[in-house]
């Protein structure tokens, strides 16, 4: 027996009954949100593309993006506490917007597009672990291999294998190591910050030149980088906040890492109280802003010790050379700032340890990323949209073989295309765009929720949060629609993002056509079997 009270007055009596669990802790939620908006695996990687919007300021775009994404956090917190324990976008959209649309959005955003995230993660693993590790261990040839077509494909296969193993093992063991990965990753990050904070720029330049010569045989690498970037015609912006317009154009790039604070969010409290909305919001919001704080700190210490111009120049020169520019990069592998920070200590063991510790940001999240696919596949199989077999789990080892095949086999194919076609690799932001479309429909769902599901909304703790009598959750939904709409417009109209070319559009179109085809075929096949899939979410009349 339990009692909830305001002051001394009881307001709710609970009797002993199954499932009366408390919501998950804010700390857990915060860790998940910080890992999903991953500063190292996704953030630093995406920062390296600044030169595609040459006048854009990273710091400004990070802050604008974070403020805007905070509204998405409010909107999702509203959905989570209104329809909790349910499984996210798939359930919200099928219930509020309809079965077909819900399936298409969930299948594309949480399943098919993960086939592309596999090689993207593979590439990140290559540039943030394998390449710097081999280079640091004194094998620049080996490091270079991981940047070749074959090398990238091998690392993609490793990533897919790691994801498959982690999904097969289940979350029980993995969740335990996730927290440790996060904490150790934070320690590694702190080491990088301390190194940069307490080293002077001149110290960095001499260390950089020394280690670059030792590892790659490059003379005067710092100056060579600056000169090389200048030859490509790139001019780095001076560290600061302006100009706003160009920085706004970086926002669609920042979505690659900041759009995911809601990734792992569910709520398990069955008796939903007023505090639940605050708790869910606080967890995701804190996680997002931890990432933002780390981003700001990173950019500040980089500006202080590397020099913003050098940091941007090294990235600009690398990508220019990578995509066939005539000026070679001074450092022949991706300019990983962690590796550069490690070079401040002239000790190979330390440098290797730092790279390994920072790779925990990758390993702490990669399993959860791909787990979402298996969940959508299971839900679709239980809804009879996919064959029952898709949700089968092996008796002995509890491995979801068929869903793993549906998730990983196409990922292998796409990894091959990604690795061997330089053109396809530029479609990286397709992976963000497709999920943004799925989010867009959830944002629409949150806006129409108070009108479409009045009772549900009235009973939701989210409905009582108002400003000047206006409920904040649907308004946050509208702002989120603005955020996603702006990004979609930019992605689809501006060539700088590598998204709006024919092949990219065809690729994404195929995903949507495939999802629609699966749903239509399922409806036809099931109808022939006497099963009406239209019944799944049809509401029984109350009166």
């Amino acid at each position: 027996m339990a009692t909830e009270s305001i002051g001394e007055t009881p307001t709710l009596f609970l009797r002993k009954a199954t499932g009366l669990v408390r919501g998950w802790s804010v700390r857990d939620s915060m860790i998940y949100a910080a890992l999903s908006t991953n500063i190292v695996t996704l953030g630093i990687y995406e920062f390296s593309f600044q030169s595609f919007i040459p006048k854009g300021q990273l710091l400004t775009s990070v802050l604008i993006s974070a403020v805007w994404v905070s509204f998405l956090v409010v909107a999702y917190a509203g959905l989570i506490v209104t329809i909790p324990r349910a499984g996210g976008d798939y359930v919200w959209q099928t219930r509020i917007l309809g079965s077909g649309l819900g399936f298409v959005m969930a299948a594309t955003g949480w399943w098919f597009i993960l086939w592309l995230w596999a090689p993207i993660y593979g590439n990140v693993l290559s540039v943030e672990l394998f390449q710097p590790l081999w280079a640091t261990l004194g094998d620049p040839g080996g490091a270079a291999f991981f940047g070749t077509h074959n090398g990238i494909f091998v690392v993609c296969l490793i990533t897919i294998a790691v994801a498959g193993i982690l999904v097969s093992l289940g979350m029980a063991g993995y969740a335990r190591i996730q927290k440790w990965c996060f904490l150790a990753g934070l320690v590694g990050f702190a080491v990088v910050v301390v190194l940069l904070l307490f080293s002077s720029k001149s110290n960095f330049i001499s260390s950089f030149n020394l280690e670059a010569h030792k590892i790659f045989g490059v003379n005067n690498a710092y100056a060579a980088t600056q000169a090389g970037a200048a030859k490509t015609g790139y001019v780095s912006p001076v560290f600061g906040f302006g100009p706003l317009g160009a920085s706004m154009l970086l926002v669609p790039m920042m979505m690659f890492y900041l759009l995911w604070p809601n990734w792992g969010s569910t709520l398990y409290g069955e008796i939903r109280g007023a505090s639940d909305f605050k708790r869910v919001f606080t967890g995701m919001f804190s996680g997002l802003w931890i990432t933002v704080l780390l981003s700001v700190v990173f950019l500040l210490v980089v500006a202080k010790t590397f020099g913003t111009d050098f940091y941007n120049n090294s990235n600009a020169l690398y990508w220019s050379a990578y995509y066939g520019g005539k000026v070679p990069a001074a450092i022949p592998i991706w300019p990983y700032p962690v590796m550069f920070a490690g070079w401040l200590i002239h000790n190979t063991a330390f440098q290797v340890a730092l790279i390994l510790v920072m790779s925990l940001w990758f390993f702490g999240w990669v399993g959860t990323l791909f787990l979402s696919s298996t969940r959508v596949i299971f839900a679709a199989a239980f809804d009879r949209v996919l064959p029952d077999r898709a949700a089968e789990v092996s008796e002995k080892r509890k491995v979801p073989f068929y869903s793993l095949i549906l998730m990983l086999l196409p990922a292998v194919g796409l990894s091959a295309i990604y690795a061997y076609s330089l053109k396809f690799e530029t479609y990286t932001l397709d992976a963000t765009l497709v999920i943004a479309v799925t989010y867009l429909f959830s944002a629409i769902a949150v806006v129409i929720l108070p009108f479409r599901k009045k009772e549900l909304w009235a009973a939701s703790p989210a409905s009582r949060f108002k400003i000047a009598g206006v409920p904040i959750v649907p308004v946050a939904g509208l702002v989120t629609i603005g955020l996603l709409g702006y990004n979609l417009y930019e992605w689809l109209s501006n060539a700088a993002y590598g998204v709006n070319n024919n092949d990219s559009l065809i690729f994404m179109g195929v995903l949507y056509v495939l999802a629609i085809a699966v749903y239509v075929v399922a409806r036809l096949v099931r109808r022939r079997q006497g099963i009406d899939l239209g019944l799944i979410n049809k509401e029984i009349p109350v009166e």
Partner: protein, 312 residues
């Protein structure tokens, strides 16, 4: 023969109303509610001179008219809670006396169930549409006699009910939970209870097990792993099987045609266990959505010809 099976509505009046309409909506010949009928929480509404006061989800409201009171009481009932109108003195007494809360809970559960069964009489055409109800581990034992005495609803616990040649046996008990609820028993005891009802079945090829606890380790029994404070561990991402091994062993041993379960709300799913189709439609009663399973049985061939999990 078409069956609609739902479970774990936990006092949600909107779900009960939907359940009563489900036969007509899904064109079912028979409706079964698998247990955990009663609610988990009670909301006190304090009566003052000329108005009432209630706190819902942290927001205190003053209700000045009977219409407002009725509207709030309906909202509370639809969430699966019991509205309890109390005086200031009664509220203070309830706040200090656990026994008094238990007593009031029982009264509210029983009067609510009485009202629900009255509604059923009209909706189920006085018993023309067979309707089977069962207790679950969260249900107090006092509800058994009330359901038993209803003219239009059959109480399933421990009985064999013949349904057009199919045999349905029911058992609302579960293996132990962290909440120490009413109908819990150790696995050995559960196995004995199962054998007692399974022994009544003449032909397992035409048997339907309606056991509240899902079979262990089948994916129909996955609940969030909890810490000692009953808080989900690792952000709720880690699930663990919490079903009954006795139920699992009984299904594998007897191989009934169909086995329907509840208890673990978040574990909506289907599992083929050799010849048996095992289903847990799950529950989201708090959202006012009645999750269920529509199951077509082929009377001649004694097989499950179709099934669909629905969110009605």
């Amino acid at each position: 023969m078409k069956i609609f099976f739902a479970t774990d509505i936990h006092g949600s009046e909107i779900c009960w109303r939907k359940f009563l309409n489900s036969a007509a909506f899904y064109k079912a010949d028979l409706v079964v509610l698998g247990g955990d009928v009663t609610g988990k929480a009670m909301v006190p509404i304090t009566a003052y001179n000329g108005y009432w006061q209630v706190t819902l989800r942290g927001e205190t409201q003053r209700l000045d008219s009977k219409a407002e009171l009725d509207e709030v009481m309906n909202r509370i009932r639809n969430s699966g809670f019991y509205p309890a109108i109390v005086s200031q003195d009664e509220l203070a007494h309830l706040g200090e006396n656990e026994g008094a809360v238990d007593q009031r809970f029982s009264e509210e559960m029983i009067s609510s169930l009485d009202r629900w069964l009255d509604m059923a009489d009209g909706k189920l055409r006085g018993g023309d549409i067979p309707c089977i109800l069962n207790g679950g581990n969260d249900d107090i034992f006092e509800i058994d006699n009330i359901i038993e005495s209803s003219p239009c609803v059959s109480f399933g616990e421990g009985k064999l009910l013949d349904l057009d040649g199919f045999s349905l046996v029911s058992m609302g008990w579960t293996n132990p939970t962290p909440w120490d609820t009413y109908r819990e028993a150790p696995e050995e005891e559960l196995a004995a209870k199962i054998e007692a009802v399974a022994g009544l079945v003449p032909d397992m090829g035409r048997a339907i097990f309606n056991f509240h606890a899902p079979p262990y380790g089948t994916g129909l029994d996955e609940a969030p792993a909890l810490d000692e404070n009953l808080r989900p561990m690792h952000g709720g991402a880690v699930m663990k099987p919490v079903g009954s091994t006795a139920v699992r062993d009984a299904i594998l041993r007897h191989q009934p045609l169909l086995s329907v379960h509840g208890h673990i709300h978040e574990s909506r799913g289907i599992k083929k266990m050799k010849r048996t189709l095992a289903i847990n439609p799950g529950s989201v009663y708090g959202d006012g959505v009645l999750q269920g399973a529509v199951i077509d049985l082929d009377v001649k061939k004694a097989k499950v010809s179709r099934y669909l999990l629905v969110n009605g």
